[in-house]
């Protein structure tokens, strides 16, 4: 039992960079996102017996993160502090800065999506889960996932072209 657990813990440890990335699509602030990951990892350890070997471990962890986010963490983060002024494109000029600015613009647009849109975007576009897998994480039918994803993309497109006009 102990060896199974430690093997599982090892595997979870190798997924930490992706868990942090997914969490960052939900919570803008690094600290909030890491709090979310920490809480989720603790829950995963506690409930490791509910993981079914042979199924995707990442999906199982994403579901734990989603639930932790909805249950607890979300209410503690402050949306008004979403963007500190210095985080909005202060460097202009070279290619690196431009790419950075582009990334910031997309991150910002994602942060302004609705909760359920952010979840589908994080799972499918950022973490690359197939629709079916993402639908299972969110416990919704594939059709619902597909239409949410389409609407989320439209919303992003609108925000990004809006930003492009105002810059």
């Amino acid at each position: 039992m102990m060896d199974n657990d430690s093997a599982l813990h090892e595997e979870i440890a190798t997924l930490l960079p992706r868990l942090r990335r997914f969490a960052r699509t939900l919570a803008w602030h690094r600290e909030d996102a890491d709090d979310l990951v920490q809480l989720s990892v603790e829950r995963a350890i506690l409930h490791s017996s509910s993981y079914q070997p042979g199924t995707r471990l990442d999906s199982w962890l994403f579901r734990i993160i989603k639930n932790a986010w909805i249950d607890e963490v979300r209410s503690r983060t402050r949306r008004s502090e979403l963007f500190a002024p210095e985080e909005e494109g202060e460097h202009v000029g070279d290619d690196f800065a431009e790419a950075h600015q582009q990334r910031m613009a997309v991150q910002k647009a994602v942060s302004l999506l609705s909760e359920e849109h952010r979840l589908v975007v994080g799972l499918v576009l950022v973490e690359g889960l197939p629709y079916k897998e993402a639908a299972e994480v969110l416990e919704i039918p594939v059709g619902t996932l597909t239409s949410r994803l389409a609407r989320a993309r439209t919303a992003l497109q609108e925000m990004l072209s809006e930003q492009a006009r105002t810059v």
Binding site: L16, P17, D34, I45, V110, V124, Y131, L149, R153
Partner: protein, 252 residues
């Protein structure tokens, strides 16, 4: 011409369509430039969103996230200890001669040390910036240069040429930190008398996994973990305690 919903085009861009529908979309795209553009837009959006968050996965993982995964395996302390001791025995056998502890070697001049190491590892494996990271001061090995700077300033888990593993307060009331240099030399240094005294250093085994995710503690050689166990008083420092220690220049 058959028209496709936005959802179908999106699913095509995401590689989610079945063979038949996929072919039908491709056929339509060949004839309809506007349709092809919409598909391209979906693909571009997917790429942009992925790229926006990709750097997060490259960041060093804060130790507080990995910590519970290491501690929770301690079901019975005795069995863990027994297993670890067995592993250490095996590791010692495997690395016989690869381990050198600074107290034993400390009396040797740094030049001789480099010579011995060069003989042992072959010149190619010799840590090239040896002089830059460790110096012999009155028979004691002291961190300097890049290593000293990292020990003074870097928080555990953050990246850079030198990676800091764990920070803790030792039983003798000095601060100690484990580290790994760019040359894969891992060790433990404690702040004593205003300097980082290297307690132990071990050349990590072979294969470096450049670019891959690595966790500072997971790659620490057993000898270093052992040395930490022998010295640690209480728990490793968390990020906040580390920051405070940095501000106090690691003095008690």
């Amino acid at each position: 011409m058959k028209s496709f919903s936005d959802e179908i085009l999106m699913a095509y861009a995401d590689g989610e369509l079945d063979e038949v529908t996929r072919r039908a979309v491709e056929e339509a795209m060949n004839k309809d430039a506007a349709l092809a553009r919409r598909v391209a837009q979906h693909k571009a959006m997917r790429n942009d969103v992925f790229a926006a968050f990709a750097p997060v996965a490259e960041e060093a993982v804060p130790p507080r996230l990995a910590q519970p995964l290491r501690q929770a395996t301690v079901v019975s302390l005795d069995s863990v200890r027994a297993r670890r001791e067995a592993e250490q025995q095996a590791a010692r056998k495997a690395t016989r001669g690869r381990r050198w502890s600074w107290p034993e070697w400390g009396a040797l001049a740094a030049m001789l040390m480099v010579g011995v190491m060069a003989g042992h590892y072959g010149v190619g494996m010799l840590p090239v910036d040896q002089g830059e990271t460790v110096a012999s001061r009155e028979g004691v090995l002291v961190a300097q240069g890049r290593l000293a700077t990292a020990l003074d300033q870097q928080l555990a888990g953050s990246g850079g040429p030198v990676r800091i593993g764990t920070s803790f307060l030792a039983q003798d009331n000095s601060y100690c930190r484990s580290f790994t240099t760019a040359q894969e030399m891992s060790g433990l240094a404690c702040k004593q008398g205003g300097a980082w005294k290297v307690q132990l250093a071990v050349q990590s085994q072979g294969k470096s996994q450049q670019g891959e995710y690595r966790q500072a503690a997971a790659e620490m050689p057993t000898q270093v973990l052992d040395a930490i166990d022998q010295r640690i008083a209480g728990q490793p420092l968390d990020a906040k305690a580390e920051q405070e220690a940095v501000q106090r220049k690691w003095q008690r």
